[in-house]
């Protein structure tokens, strides 16, 4: 298990050492990604068999220890992140070279460190360990966001850091202190550690500290960092701000709900009710904002804010179906959104276009890319036969279970909004003639290293449609202990 953590770190060192030979450096990145994925699958195999391997590192102070444990929720996250890292690395090579980006070694190093931090978050056995890696992830992605080093990148990166570190210091640390004071431990335990230790009111307040302290989940009003982070090169937006970083946020919230509060405790006290309303608001509001954005990446960023709130919503509803749906949405949204970001990057690489309004007729020049966008978008909207359909269905069903009828309505409205901000892009690409009136006759795609990964993730969205039962069984394990 430690291997999964160490592999990317060793990779980072090797990337530094091979920094002068780009081909060798990229090989190191790819091999590292493959090895990490292999080691994660190995742990997953053990977890499917019901194992919960643990590694204890050391005690820092009473109640604070560094320890790791594999469990289904974390493994799902680790699996997605490590798998998509492979795909993303291939894409990165195409993108970074295609755009002749500066400081590529620094880029790959920070990426590897970020992935190591992601693994740490996924495998953490207690809140303290999770918190440490959560901060490492923020810090290691800061140079990636600021990569372009111009005024815009600087101010974006500053917002990114201020909000993420700020919320974690102001809300997350007090939440840790309070949890420790109430429960006497910070360990993740099935069924939660706060049952009987916290009143309904305390639980509600504590949940607020966590929900806002985990700024990476981008619950409004602490979502501003995510659009700011879009100044980063697109592979960063794709893997980190559609998968690793934001999913680390919602994953942490799920983890806190399942293993710290305990879903039954939340249901019994009704302490998470307010978060249901806030998350519903957040997901609708972000969709509306996405409609107004012309910049493609900004539109996708607000779409991410909205989709993350689905997961927070699932966690807040806290019924078993909603939780499974939320966890599934971590997976389905990851594949869907990374595809969309890959497409945005491919368009930028091929044509240097960044605004939605510039995309008229682009589908004829980039048919594969835009077809992938179409598939990814459908999955985000939640239409069968794509993965996104299941997770939204589960969350809606969970909402009915929890007597939140309005959630179903909100989800439907949101899906309509999704259609409204994603489909026009496809329509423009394929059915609107190009602005300059010149008929496009030949295909002019981005480098194939960019195109293949995005087609691949689009296909994966389809594959996920056929896996919900497997995921459900796998995730069923998180309810263990009740």
């Amino acid at each position: 298990m430690i291997a999964a953590l160490l592999i990317p770190l060793v990779g980072a060192v090797l990337i530094v050492l091979t920094g002068r030979q780009p081909n060798l450096r990229e090989t190191v990145t790819l091999v590292t990604a493959l090895l990490m994925f292999a080691s994660v699958t190995q742990i997953v195999a053990g977890v499917i068999d019901g194992g919960r391997p643990e590694v204890f590192a050391l005690d820092v102070a009473p109640g604070l220890s560094l320890a790791f444990q594999a469990e289904p929720l974390g493994m799902l996250f680790a699996l997605i992140a490590s798998f998509l890292w492979i795909v993303n690395s291939i894409y990165s090579i195409g993108y970074m070279r295609g755009n002749r980006e500066p400081r590529q070694t620094q880029f790959y190093v920070a990426f590897a460190v970020a992935l190591a931090a992601t693994m740490g978050i996924a495998l953490s056995a207690n809140l303290f360990t999770l918190f440490i890696f959560y901060e490492v992830l923020t810090l290691s992605t800061y140079p990636l966001v600021a990569h372009h080093a111009d005024a815009k990148a600087r101010s974006g990166a500053r917002t990114y850091l201020m909000i993420l570190i700020g919320t974690s210091i102001v809300f997350f640390i007090p939440a840790l202190l309070w949890t420790l004071a109430l429960a006497g431990t910070l360990d993740f335990k099935p069924g939660g550690i706060l049952v009987g230790a916290a009143t309904a009111q305390t639980t509600g307040l504590l949940l607020a500290l966590f929900a806002f302290g985990i700024g990476k989940a981008a619950v409004m009003p602490f979502h501003r960092w995510l659009p700011s982070a879009m100044v980063a090169p697109t592979p960063v937006s794709a893997l980190l701000h559609a998968v690793a970083v934001v999913k680390a946020g919602v994953f942490s919230i799920l983890k806190v709900v399942v293993y710290i509060f305990g879903p039954e405790h939340l249901l019994a006290t009704g302490a998470s009710e307010w978060l249901v309303y806030l998350a519903t608001f957040s997901l609708l509001a972000a969709s509306v904002v996405a409609l107004t954005k012309d910049n493609l990446k900004a539109r996708l960023a607000y779409s991410t804010v909205s989709q993350l709130s689905y997961i927070v919503l699932g966690a807040a509803i806290a019924t078993p179906l909603a939780l499974v749906g939320a966890a599934m949405h971590v997976a389905t949204h990851a594949f869907g959104k990374i595809t969309l970001f890959f497409v945005a990057g491919a368009i930028h690489t091929a044509t240097h276009k960044t605004e939605v309004s510039q995309l008229n007729g682009i589908g004829r020049a980039m048919p594969f890319t835009m077809a992938a966008f179409f598939i990814g978008a459908l999955s985000i909207i939640g239409l069968p036969p794509l993965g996104g359909a299941w997770s939204k269905l589960y969350i809606a069903l969970g909402g009915m279970d929890g007597d939140y009828g309005f959630v179903v309505a909100a989800l439907m409205i949101s899906s309509v909004l999704n259609v409204a901000y994603l489909m026009p892009i496809v329509v423009r690409a394929f059915f609107t003639p190009p602005d300059d009136g010149v008929e496009v006759t030949s295909i002019k795609e981005a480098p194939w290293l960019c195109v293949i990964p995005l087609c691949f993730t689009a296909l994966a969205c389809g594959v996920l449609f056929f896996l919900p039962d497997r995921l459900e069984v796998f995730l069923g394990g998180i309810m263990g202990g009740n």
Binding site: V60, F131, L139, I169, V170, P174, L177
Partner: protein, 493 residues
């Protein structure tokens, strides 16, 4: 034999080495003497720690004269902890001093600098180890006089006014302390701290004793730079040579804090007395003001050394905040932060000293793009900066965790909120430097820079390493601090 006389050796080694440095008048030889003496002092502190852990309080009769007539050196867990911090910082800095000092001074001046360095070290160790109130005053003056000289040796001419300012304030502080000690002597007829602790409880509410306490409090607060008595500190640290700033930031104020604890808790009878005075509330208020005012002022500094100096005032606020709780967890946090802050701030001053060494300036606007030209130095700076703002996995987090925990124990949630907000301000001033250093295009001057030599990097990185090591392995720092805190509360001496 050596083990038996360790308490004396602790002070005598650097004390004897100091005139030796003055006599040889050769920079390199003086440095070698200082190196040996400072590491020997560190070894003595470790030896003392082992002995105290083994056999409890050590009472050493200076010159064979029995206390309370003779001078007693009395070592318990509280002061051995401070001895360890002071001698440790003192030892780590010396290898750095070689290049840093030789770059600016001729051989003779170098020897003088090392003489002063050793005298300052002697004084600080003496204050910490002695069990005699008047002896405290004497050693305090030795260290202060030596530090005035060390500050006045800065490269900026403003260091002279800074040293003078410190001289005036320091002398006022020392005078207050000696008045306080005199009053105590008049009332009890003894200068021995242990003896005082036995006699004071009977008369502790008489006016002269309270007056003595007031004089001591103000005098010591001046020395520890408690807001608003901190005015001497920013200029002194900003304009002194880097070695001096690092040394003083890591040791001088820490020793003053030790004195504060020693007088209030040991001499005046533990928690019981401390909480009957209005001091906890006053101290709490002043600490909070220090944490915020000094941090906010730090944000607006253009000289990075001055910024770090204001940051020191703020961090001292964190320490005194822990003291003001008067609980075991609070004192543990305060003692731990003495240890942790010494590591962080000494390291930061050494690293910024590297910049000064290579660039000749520590103005923030002159440092544009320096992260690319001095990557190792600035990486260390970022690492320690993160620690300062309390990132988990570093020492800064450990201190703040205990300070927060202490507030939670008392149900003071608003204090937790203030602690975290103060940390945010820390983030702003560290972030400013990081941004300029990494995301501005290097100026013409910066682009010709090269990384500092290993002789300057290694000592600084020993401290960076320590900031991370003690951030996860806390049995030494927190472990000792906790035991010391419980001794303080019980007034066991």
């Amino acid at each position: 034999m050596i083990a038996l006389h360790l308490p004396a050796l602790q002070v005598v080694l650097p004390l004897l080495a100091a005139p030796l440095c003055a006599l040889v008048r050769r920079g390199t030889v003086a440095w070698a003497i200082t190196l040996i003496a400072s590491w020997a002092a560190f070894a003595a502190a470790i030896g003392l720690l082992l002995r105290v852990l083994d056999e409890g309080i050590i009472s050493y009769e200076m010159g064979g004269w029995a206390p309370p007539i003779g001078i007693e050196y009395r070592v318990d867990l509280i002061n051995v902890f401070v001895l360890l911090v002071v001698s440790g910082v003192g030892a780590v800095i010396v290898p750095y001093a070689r290049k840093s000092i030789a770059a600016r001074f001729g051989s003779t001046e170098q020897a003088w600098f090392y003489t002063m360095y050793l005298l300052a070290l002697t004084g600080l160790l003496g204050v910490t180890i002695t069990g005699d109130a008047f002896n405290i005053f004497v050693f305090l003056e030795i260290s202060s006089l030596a530090s005035y000289v060390m500050i006045a040796m800065g490269r900026d001419r403003r260091c002279l006014t800074a040293a003078y300012q410190y001289l005036i304030m320091g002398t006022v502080g020392a005078t207050f302390i000696v008045i306080g000690v005199g009053l105590l002597w008049a009332m009890t007829g003894t200068l021995n701290l242990y003896d005082l602790a036995q006699r004071i409880p009977e008369i502790q509410n008489t006016r002269p004793v309270l007056a003595a306490l007031a004089f001591l409090t103000v005098g010591i607060s001046l020395k520890l730079a408690l807001f608003p008595l901190h005015l001497w500190l920013p200029n002194a640290y900003a304009f002194a040579p880097s070695v001096t700033s690092a040394f003083l930031a890591g040791t001088a104020t820490k020793v003053a804090i030790y004195l504060f604890l020693r007088f209030f808790y040991t001499v005046f009878g533990g928690e019981g007395f401390f909480v009957t005075t209005p001091l906890p509330e006053i101290l709490l208020l002043l600490s909070l003001v220090a944490m915020f005012a000094a941090s906010i002022v730090a944000v607006f500094q253009s000289n990075v050394k001055r910024m770090l100096a204001y940051s020191s005032v703020a961090q001292i606020g964190f320490i005194t905040l822990g003291i003001s709780y008067a609980t075991e967890t609070g004192l543990t946090g305060a003692m731990t932060h003495i240890f942790n802050h010494a590591i962080m701030k000494a390291g930061l001053f050494l690293l910024i000293g590297n910049v000064l060494y290579q660039l000749g300036s520590v103005k923030i606007e002159d440092m544009a793009g320096i992260g690319r030209k001095m990557p190792i130095t600035m990486a260390g700076f970022v690492a320690l900066g993160l620690s300062l703002l309390g990132t988990p996995g570093t020492v800064g987090f450990i201190s703040k965790w205990y300070l927060g925990l202490a507030a939670v124990e008392q149900g003071q949630w608003w204090l937790v909120a203030l602690i975290v907000i103060a940390s945010l301000v820390t983030m702003i001033y560290i972030g400013r430097v990081v941004e300029v250093a990494y995301f501005r295009e290097p100026t013409a001057q910066v682009s010709q820079l090269r990384e500092a030599p290993p002789a300057l990097l290694v000592p600084a990185f020993v401290l960076v390493g320590a900031a991370f090591y003690f951030g996860v392995e806390t049995s030494l720092s927190v472990g000792l601090a906790q035991q010391a805190a419980s001794l303080l509360l019980n007034a066991a001496y």
